[in-house]
């Protein structure tokens, strides 16, 4: 009796893929978008390795290594691009780039204003040290 049948791994892979998809569709931070895409890749690799395990060969594992390679390239290029975009707009928000859409698309506007940021507690400061006590100055004989 096999302790964990193959479709359990496939279910976990599917859930990770879908979580990544939702993150990619909803989040607006460029870096979180990218992390979500990487999570989708993780879901796919779980599928590949599970198939390799239950088919008794190493082809799925080899393919996962190539996915790793491509993910590393992707990370290098994407992070360089993200830095470039940040330099231009000083924000990681994707919606600032919505003019790249097709011409007839309605721009999305944020209607609800963001609540003000919670005021940070001022960092504690050292109290000034006490006044130097008076003490008779000894005449120096040097």
């Amino acid at each position: 009796m096999i302790p964990v049948p193959i479709h359990h791994y496939l279910v976990v892979g599917a859930i990770l893929f879908v979580l990544g998809l939702i993150g990619f569709l909803t989040r607006r931070n460029l870096i979180v978008l990218f992390l979500s895409a990487e999570m989708m890749l993780q879901g796919v690799t779980i599928n590949l390795v599970a198939f390799a395990r239950y088919r008794g060969n190493l082809q799925g594992q080899s393919f996962t290594l190539f996915i790793l390679t491509v993910a590393a390239c992707e990370a290098a290029i994407a992070l360089a691009l993200i830095l470039l975009l940040y330099k231009r707009r000083h924000s990681l928000d994707v919606s600032l780039w919505q003019e790249l859409r097709e011409a007839d698309q309605e721009p999305t506007l944020d209607e609800e204003p963001l609540p003000p940021a919670p005021r940070e507690e001022p960092s504690p400061r050292l109290l000034p040290a006490g006044v130097e006590p008076t003490h008779p100055r000894e005449p120096s004989h040097v």
Binding site: H8, Q42, L58, L65, A72, L79, K87, D93
Partner: protein
Amino acid sequence: MTPLFGAVFDWAGLGPILPPLVIGAGSIYLLLPRPRPYPKLWGALLGGLALLLAGVFIVRTGIVHPETILFYAFSAIAIIAGTLLITQHNPARAALSFALVVLSTCGLYLLLAAPFLMAATTIIYAGAIIVTFLFVLMLAQQEGRSNADDRSREPLLATLTGFILLGALLYVLDLSYGTSATSPATREIDTLLADTHQRLNEARAVSGQGSREELAHVIKASEDLLPRYLAALHKPQVRWLDLPDLAAQIDRMSLSWPSVAEPPRDAAEQAAELQRLRKAVADLTPDLYKLAEIGEEARKRLGEQLACLQPRGDRIERYSNLSGPSPAVELTELRRDEQGRPQLPTENSAYLGRSLFTDYLLPVELGGTLLLVATVGAIAIAQRRTYPERPL
């Protein structure tokens, strides 16, 4: 035809999948960042409930084995960290949850007998890529609240899309790999087959010498087999199996069941009826045999279609044996360990290297070139240039 395209949707198959899906979608919707967020507690409670229900309904497993417990632990951590990744306001924390996703995925790799991949993924993802991410985050971090972190685009629609996709995936997995509890068509044909074989055995036992009651019992019990077979073969769930030819064979079998009414009073008539019944049962035996054959054939086709891992004989062999048994080898011919899984070599990295440098030599070269090009590209992109400042 494949099960995916021929599958007929029915709500009964979706029954166990639906509750965790709906609750999970609700949890993600509540947890996604928005300017005025809902209380975290509700989303977290719903998410925990969905995870529990998914564990009970979808990936249920009857045996408690260390591997099962590890599997549950790793996948639960992966899913929880994945949810945290997409619902965190702070991108640095999101990157750390991604590291957690990667590490628990590595645990799953280890369970799947891939230690080299485990090590490589830990080093490359959890080491290199996450650290690069954190660097970029530090370079591009913003003070206070920002539109990027505290708003979501269309949380409701995106959650619906994602969970409808997940439902479709789980449904197809259920159709393809479902055990008897989740694949009604297989279970039905299995019971039919068992019944047919039982009737066949009974008929063989009583043919020629059975008493009147035994004979009558066999005939009565066999009467409903034919309509049950026809109903099972005409089910919408198995319509894609090309079963009509089997159904036509059953239609051609004109079984005439002798009437088993009240026993006649007269002794001579009783003897005549006994003879008649015995002859009927003897005639019945080949028909039952034929029915069992048809049932076996239907079960075989169902099994062939459902086991998506089954190899096709006509596939061209492109790979050597160096990556393990080729896809053309029948599943039944694989060497298996004592738990029933195909055996993999113990020296994982050595065999993986052998596979990479024989079967996948060209892809390895291409991967290296890709890395080189990516390095050059990243340096070219990230060069310091001056841009005209553009106000927001």
